[in-house]
Symmetry: C2
Subunit: 600 residues, 2 copies
């Protein structure tokens, strides 16, 4: 993760900035500042939010590794944005200015509150990293204006794309503004009453305006919207001690994870509305699994973890970080996946330097028409440090494993690990707080044979869940966790039609996949069958698997349904290499499968 | 089919007319006739085409069963439409008039030529049923104007939605206008050169503007567009003796039927763009299988049959008629399916009397926002008689079996059958032409044990393909075909991931399905497993099947992927009733499956 953060810092931030300049998304702010009419403004109505997400990423990154050049870039960007803010705090380049539609004239699809939410989040990031400067002030004024406009007695409305809710609670917490929280509560309570006009071919489910949050049973509709909204609802529930709302969110998360989530942690199986499908509707090939939905799922699981301390939420965060968030950017941090399917049937065509539609074709692209994912990855990677550990009154919990230093709750810990390539995590206590403290380590649910060694003691078996070490800690103490990372078979529930009678291979927190790149010549990925009588074995950071290949009776039939049960002659076993899914498509166009049909 | 035609005539035509009046689609014509500005014209840009498709249906229906009331309704409708035609022949209510965008200003999405195509087809239907009256004249003027505008040296462009191509060839044939054919050829040749501007999130494939028709390997993009275009291309190939184009169409059809077609004959597996998916991308649950794509597939297969006389095309027409076209309308002909999935996971909610978005939810709806399907079903049912038989120099071929009279090629045949409920088809010769003639009967590919009895002779086994009787026929001759209609198992190609290790049951030309309505209480359709060691048996017009039910170890897991291979305890065998797929959802909201997972 450290390497990814460095690439994010060195390449991705600048990459995003250049694209936004090139496409005129920054110039939009200048034009508003100059008071010029902009009837043909470039960018979607939510392009402002990309700029704010980039600012948020920069703010986190500056706290991670201060850099004078980035600081100057950041300040200049804040100035350009600030110059476009109206006197009353309203800030948006697509509405409310000459040549543009009036403010709040298209709440369903206009994304005005969504944009403001990301501006406010950027302000929170700046504030939380120790600054109370111009960006914070801009965000505060924007939030104030929204409270004026949409508060009790004001506009009784919600935004088609949730985001303002989490932003208001977070800024309310950070800045100590209770009325921001109150405004978020209003937005949550107003939702689900069918007030948003529905576009042709969409439905109220699309924006979660079909059922009030506290009555809903499961996440549905547009996945990113559903996840952002539910994260905001949990924030409100926690801050207002609203048990009913809290239980509603927990119930929805449980149902969604049990029946509407991919092995990768990806969410959303429909392209049509970028939405959740029905229960068990989880096709591998048309998995949408938008990168931003992965980010949204982490936002929700993180809030649920903080509210409950339950390990299952941190488990899902790990799964999603390694297999969705890490899958989107290329190794060099300048091309991205928007959708993250678990099967690629046709090798993609290189995306080139242009604006890609959505990078659905198995090739990462430098930028998208709707380009929400690159900046969402950037802000997540830049703030990854926050997800590593948590503290409570008892002590410190280590949630995610990566080499580096953890400073929290009076502890300074040095973590030494090659995780996930290896399963050994060495925790060195550099500084310890006074008194008896609990140091707890997360044992992932995939690791039933883990062991923990405290100091020079013997390794003791630990079960998935928490491994606690409660004692008076001192500098020089050492705890070593060993997680087994042999590749393993993982079987889907038979109710998931799209992957019936298939098996996947995982290794530690990584989902693996088979790419056509690793097949012998002349063999189609369609015909490969996994042999499950022998376990897969470790190979590099992936695995090797025994497989056979169906030899077909005829080259092809005229119609793919017949009166005879298909039976194929199979080749002698082959040994095939699987690679981590997050690295797929790095070696050129390929077909790919996470789930392999079982051959015996 | 006769009953369906009667319902179509008695209920569907009037139903469509009333909806069009109610929604203002007819008033659009009156407004243009009056010269009134219509800045907020109701209906999509293609609503005119619905009116024309209804006219076409009425024209065919009037020829089938003359009716003075319908004739008067038809004439009045033609008058309203004619009044909106411009002096130069241009006729469109969405473009080219006060308050509307100019003519041909949005060829990609404006559907102007598409609308004109359906107008011309309605004119052809009227002409072919023995009238050369006002509608024919209106259509002729519209076609002339298009030739003026888009001919050699004119606008070098194509329409985003094909349809004008088939319409021009058909009217060129009917009216003897060679230049209509020439214009169609120009449209076919111009396509596939990327001239249509691509909307966000779509691609040139969507309108088959990615590759010239003669170079394409398979049907792709929006299924209805692809099928209409290819039908037009075949027409052009036949009329101009263009073997290259002919071979290209045959190749695309073969590839599409072998790898991109559902068991029902349905085409199009993607909701996002109403399009074809990749090879083998045929999920049962998200099958789009638009009703109109079924109509388009019949149009294409019919043209291929007429050009080649090959039985395989007539086979696909039968499959598609019984399992797509017949599935869309309800028994009473006033509600319709737009999409025809092969699996319904959640029972739908009743659609009510409103405009449904797309009836994807397992309930037929009276009308849709984009309401192309009801009128397409209506014109197909009204003209069904044309698909029953064909003649050539050798004699007559019977292609589809239904009770009724066939008059063609000098023959008058009375067909006596309860097909498909029963497999016996009795052909009585009422009149016969002079000389030796060939009477051929299609033996469907699903009927390997068919037999044919000529006169008082013994039944002789006949193979799938053609069964020919060549002789001097005389009134009173009799031929009896017996097709076995025991229910049978049908197995999908293992490369279709969405239905791996499942089986379907067919009976004669009918695909059957299992509805939750026919399950014992407390059993979920998700858990039913087909037992294939004993064959299904006939039951009503469906079948009875032996099945077991998975009993789960736990009510539900937290995450639907685990380290143990799923194995379920199964119940004792149950006997379940399957019904014809085309009748599903007639008994209230239900879940449904065509393909059942195999239990042993």
């Amino acid at each position: 993760w450290g390497r990814r953060q460095a690439i994010n810092s060195a390449a991705t931030l600048e990459h995003c900035l250049q694209w936004m300049e090139r496409l005129g998304w920054l110039e939009n702010f200048d034009r508003v500042a100059r008071g010029e009419a902009a009837p043909s403004r470039p960018g979607w109505q939510f392009s402002d939010s990309e700029v704010y997400k980039l600012l948020e990423a920069m703010a986190w990154d500056l706290a991670r590794t201060p850099d004078a050049g980035l600081e100057a870039t950041f300040d200049a960007l804040v100035d350009r944005i600030g110059a476009a803010q109206d006197d009353d705090g309203y800030l948006n380049t697509a509405f409310g200015h000459p040549g543009r539609p009036p403010r709040w004239s298209d709440l369903a699809m206009g994304h005005e509150l969504y944009n403001a939410g990301h501006l406010i989040q950027a302000g929170v990031a700046r504030f939380r990293t120790g600054h109370d400067d111009r960006l914070v002030e801009i965000a505060r004024r924007a939030a104030d204006q929204i409270c004026e406009e949409f508060g009790e007695g004001g506009l009784d409305a919600v935004c088609g794309h949730p985001e303002i809710e989490v932003a208001l609670v977070e800024s309310g917490r950070a800045l100590g503004e209770r009325r921001y929280l109150e405004q978020a509560r209003l937005f949550i309570d107003r939702r689900g009453r069918g007030t948003l006009p529905v576009r042709p071919l969409l439905s109220a489910e699309y924006f979660q305006d079909d059922v009030p949050v506290r009555e809903a049973a499961v996440l549905r509709g547009h996945a990113v919207r559903a996840l952002y909204l539910t994260a905001g609802a949990l924030d409100v529930a926690v801050e207002t001690d609203d048990d009913e709302l809290f239980d509603a969110v927990t119930r929805q998360w449980e149902h969604t994870v049990a029946r509407r989530t991919y092995l990768t942690g990806g969410m959303g199986s429909r392209h049509q509305d970028e939405g959740f499908g029905d229960d068990w509707e989880l096709p591998a090939d048309r998995a949408y699994c938008e990168t931003c939905a992965g980010v949204g799922s982490i936002m929700l699981a993180w809030r649920l973890y903080l509210a409950t301390g339950e390990v299952r939420y941190a488990d899902l965060i790990e799964r999603t970080l390694f297999n969705v968030v890490a899958t989107s950017p290329s190794a060099d941090g300048t091309t991205f996946f928007y959708a993250n399917p678990l099967q690629q049937r046709e090798p993609g065509a290189p995306a080139g330097d242009g604006v890609n539609r959505r990078a659905e074709g198995g090739i990462r692209a430098p930028w998208f028409d709707v380009s929400c994912c690159p900046t969402n990855v950037a802000r997540t990677l830049a703030s990854l440090g926050s997800y590593v550990a948590s503290v409570d009154t008892e002590g410190l919990a280590l949630l995610q494993y990566a080499a580096g230093e953890v400073r929290a709750g009076g502890f300074v810990l040095r973590i030494d690990t090659a995780y996930p390539a290896e399963g050994i995590v060495r925790v060195h206590v550099v500084e310890a707080p006074d008194g008896v403290r609990r140091l707890r380590l997360r044992i992932p649910s995939w690791a039933p044979d883990a062991s923990l060694r405290v100091g020079d003691g013997d390794p003791m078996p630990v079960e998935p869940g928490w491994a606690d070490v409660t004692r008076r800690f001192a500098a020089g103490d050492r705890v070593v966790l060993e997680l087994p990372t042999s590749p393993r078979f993982t079987w889907p529930d038979p109710r998931i039609d799209g992957v019936r009678d298939t098996v996947a291979v995982e290794r530690g927190p990584l989902v693996l996949c088979l790419e056509s790149t690793d097949l012998p010549d002349g063999i189609s990925l369609d015909d490969v069958r996994a042999v499950t009588s022998s376990a897969p074995v470790a190979h590099g950071d992936g695995a090797r698997l025994t497989a056979t290949v169906d030899a077909r009776e005829t080259v092809d039939g005229a119609f793919p349904y017949g009166s005879r049960r298909p039976s194929a002659t199979r080749t002698a076993p082959l040994d095939l290499a699987l690679v981590p899914y997050h690295r797929w498509a790095e070696r050129g166009p390929a077909t790919m499968r996470v789930f392999l049909p079982v051959g015996e």
